[in-house]
């Protein structure tokens, strides 16, 4: 009978070195779900570093998956620049929402300040506290460095920003510039506190979807700032990246290719992007994806297993390496048995 011969840590280390581990690694891509399986409120994942770390670790041990705890949420940026957010405490809510964006008027753009001390801005104190737990446990230390347009959306308000992309592009560029300054300062702070070699820099690119913006708009408003931030991080010595390309972004992929990154970069895609496409465009990078989160929540275990198997068979021999992952955040209330199918599939169909 086949058995695993590596721990999660060993498996991920092998992957990052460009070697084949014992089996396909699984990073389910979960946040709120870790709180749910611990019987805790979903908000704990984002509002309490200690609890967040504890829940994520317990959850990892239960499933036997390979993703270590991290701190990130999709609507980041709004709080850091002086807006207000709400942690997911209400019924049905599952993620942080921006309740008041820092920018309300055109004039606000000009007066928008990049926080002096990034370590005290918005959720950064919580993120840093969690990073210290990661350091303590010898785990990769993660920091969120974008994606800049998603952050700008949280600062301006997505709908307002959509209009400005056409009517007031210069205002969006000003905000993107300030956001980029901020994110680079964050990276500098992490490098100073933790050293560059253990850092894993994370982009969550949600507003960049072609369901919202055109590839041309991506090229104009996203790409330059992604390049700037990543170039700065590379300059600081940050060697590992995790880029979540959320949703429908097929037409953006050729621009993503132009973002500076290392081989130790995980490119994570949603169900809307075919793994084969990503494998062709990023031959040297680690490709991750792309089990449908809605299926994980609403489907039967057999259907989830079948889809995991399909992903594995498509991508497990990708040159740069492959990680089985959900296409986006695992739904907090997904049945645990369904989430477990990812690990089960990797053990059964993903043996090297």
């Amino acid at each position: 009978m086949w058995r695993e011969t590596m721990t999660s840590g060993e498996r991920m280390a092998a992957l990052m070195r460009g070697e084949r581990p014992d089996r396909v690694p699984v990073i389910p891509f979960l946040s709120g779900h870790a709180a749910v399986v611990c019987g805790q409120p979903i908000a704990r994942i984002s509002d309490d570093a200690e609890e967040s770390f504890r829940c994520q670790l317990l959850c990892q041990e239960m499933y036997g998956h390979d993703g270590s705890p991290l701190y990130a949420y999709a609507s980041a940026g709004g709080w850091e620049f002086g807006g207000e957010i709400e942690f997911p405490v209400k019924k049905y809510s599952g993620a942080v929402i921006v309740t008041r964006t820092p920018i309300q008027t055109e004039d606000d753009v000009y007066t928008l300040k990049v926080p002096e001390d990034v370590s005290k801005a918005g959720a950064l104190p919580i993120a840093l506290a969690l990073a210290r737990k990661q350091a303590e446990h010898g785990l990769p230390i993660t920091l969120q460095i974008g994606a800049p347009l998603t952050w700008a959306g949280s600062v301006i308000g997505e709908e307002r920003m959509m209009g400005w992309l056409i009517k007031k592009p210069e205002l969006v560029h000003i905000v993107l510039d300030k956001v980029s300054q901020f994110l680079i300062k964050v990276a500098e702070h992490y490098v100073k506190e933790f050293g560059a070699e253990r850092l894993l820099a994370f982009h969550g690119a949600a507003t960049e979807t072609n369901k919202l913006i055109s590839p041309k708009q991506f090229e104009t408003f996203s790409l330059p700032y992604l390049q700037r931030i990543n170039q700065a991080c590379l300059g600081l010595g940050v060697g590992s990246y995790f880029i979540h390309i959320c949703g429908e972004q097929n037409k953006n992929l050729k621009f993503w290719q132009q973002v500076p990154m290392t081989k130790q970069t995980v490119i994570s895609v949603g169900r809307e992007v075919d793994l084969t496409t990503v494998m062709e465009l990023f031959p040297e990078q680690i490709v991750a994806g792309n089990v449908d989160p809605t299926l994980i929540q609403e489907g039967r275990a057999e259907a989830v297993l079948a889809q995991c198997r399909e992903c594995i068979e498509k991508a497990m021999y990708h040159k740069g390496g492959f990680v089985l992952m959900a296409g986006c955040d695992v739904p907090p209330h997904a049945p645990p048995v369904n989430v477990f199918q990812m690990v089960k599939a990797a053990r059964e169909y993903g043996r090297y």
């Binding site: 721990t7 611990c38 959850c59 239960m62 010898g138 929540q297 048995v337 369904n338 477990f340």
Partner: protein, 362 residues
Amino acid sequence: MHRDHSVKGKWVKCDQMTSQERWEALVNRRPTDRVPCLQFMLGHTAVVNGRPIAKIYDDGAESLACQRNAMALYGHDGLIMHGWANAGGAEFGGEIEFPYRKYTGAPLMKKNPVQSEEDAWDLRVPDDILSVGTMPIALEFSRLQYEAGLTVTLQVGSPLTWAGSVYGEERLMIWMLKKPELVHHVLRVITDFIRRKADYWIDRFGAERLMAFDLGIETNKLYSPKQFETFGFPYLREIHDHLTERGTAIILSHICGEQNKNLPLWARLSYGKRGMVSVGKEVAISKAREMFPDCVIMGNVDPVTVQEGTPEQVRMLCRACIEEGKDHPGGFALMTGCEVPPQAPPVNVDQMVKACRELGRY
């Protein structure tokens, strides 16, 4: 490859046997790599599958799938079964409600079949026992177990617990004092029913593949030891003896709740080729060991802590159980003292297998 790993100075324990190997070793009195973890887990398996709890009880195929999926998730070593505490009433014509409603976690008797003394005297074993109440579901479940190569389970009482389901517990308690002959009559009918059920299962699936189990809620919080002796024990003994005579591989008794004073009687029952006894947190593992030297003792992590406590608290309880039971000559398995609460946080349930791996190695 069976090696342990050191992660930052912490040993990660790896299992040397599969769940199936461990279960078979336990049943056949062979050594296991670690303390087995057997779960009394029904509704919870539906919850972690995202299914209505009722499916565990009213749908054989779904029930089996949910239980097997949960077993793969947690890595425990059993149990897989179809049954519930207040069974019996539906088979004699009562009305049952399956747990679809909010907060419900197990089947409820909506209407007991016996409402009057006349009803009680009229109670008979139905001609076709396979078609009554939930018997078709139970049979379907066992058939699927058989086809999957699993141990085939059948619920055989306990008769007194079933009587509660047939009468309503309150009426049963009053009649024990006022109309004992009526209670005995009903117990006689129930026992005959169970014997016929057992015979059918043995004939169809083979005694060597069977695990017969009774869920006995004859707690001393409800009944005196004397009442257990008079109304519970004789019928239990008859069924256990019958099963044993027919060569049943495993007989398992879940001795629910506070039954310290009933234990000497439970200990006098026969237990087939292999006996297994599950006790609640009210009965010390050491006491159970003393009473059942030859049986596998299973227990007795507090289910309420599994639902409401922290993972650390669950782990501490597991540690205490493992230390107390691990070297029992008859065998030991970690289990909750009663059913795992359906809404227990999965991470807490996971602590039990984890404790067996890390603290229960042989």
